[in-house]
Subunit: 141 residues, 2 copies
């Protein structure tokens, strides 16, 4: 069975993150996309998202590899909710490996040309509630 | 500070669930909305969603009350991801109370008139990955 097209996009985007190919990575995002950099910290639009990924790569000392675990894609018209395990593999300075698994939530939207674009990228999933005020206001950066 | 309009909608929808006012409840959903009835079981469109809520009310012996805990709303253009604690209070036949807290994920979309409608209703949040194949295919009902 062919993959859902959004699964292919996420795999390609995660390869771009791993390879630090941020120009390719930005193609997966809508112009007004929102990235949760950390609970309470938002990047909005491609310029801020690009800066955030450059900072994240530096923060992890350019040693992070991103891949996908289990994934569910729930579509309604031109909108899709993705629930997914994101696997973050880090290589330490001493060559040691560590793996962190997050449960992410992404929202994709189809543009007028029928192309799926990421509109909301929240790699923290429902854990975001543990770190924020939780009063319904959007976290601000 | 005024509530986010989506918070007001969710509060009103949860009151409609508690009061079993399913006609009012359906007004909150887009025509092509998807409801995760249980992991792996989907209701699609207002007719199926209505039937699902009637069955859910009967399943809980008409004794369920739904309210909201912590909530985050992340907006990108006309799309919003809601991460929220859903509190389910059940009254048993002997008058005993029990509370279940779920971490839900909802996607809302603005229609052409600027009204927010629920497009995807997944009250299981990221827990949906525990119960499904996780290969990227949408669960089917």
């Amino acid at each position: 069975m062919a993959n859902h097209p959004i699964r292919d996009l996420i795999e390609a985007a995660d390869r771009a993150i791993t390879g630090e190919d941020f120009d390719a990575l930005l193609d997966f995002y809508a112009d007004d996309a929102v990235l949760i950099v950390a609970p309470g910290r938002i990047a909005r639009g491609k310029a801020e998202i690009s800066k955030a990924f450059v900072a994240i790569a530096a923060h992890f000392d350019h040693s992070i590899a991103v891949s996908q675990g289990r994934m569910e894609i729930i579509e309604s018209g031109g909108t899709a909710l993705v629930i997914m395990e994101t696997l973050l593999d880090k290589t330490g300075g001493n060559g040691g490996q560590s793996r962190e698994t997050r449960r992410a939530t992404y929202v994709f939207r189809k543009d007028d040309a029928g192309r799926w674009l990421c509109a909301i990228d929240n790699s923290y999933g429902t854990d975001i509630l543990d770190a924020t005020r939780g009063d319904g206001a959007s976290p601000t950066g």
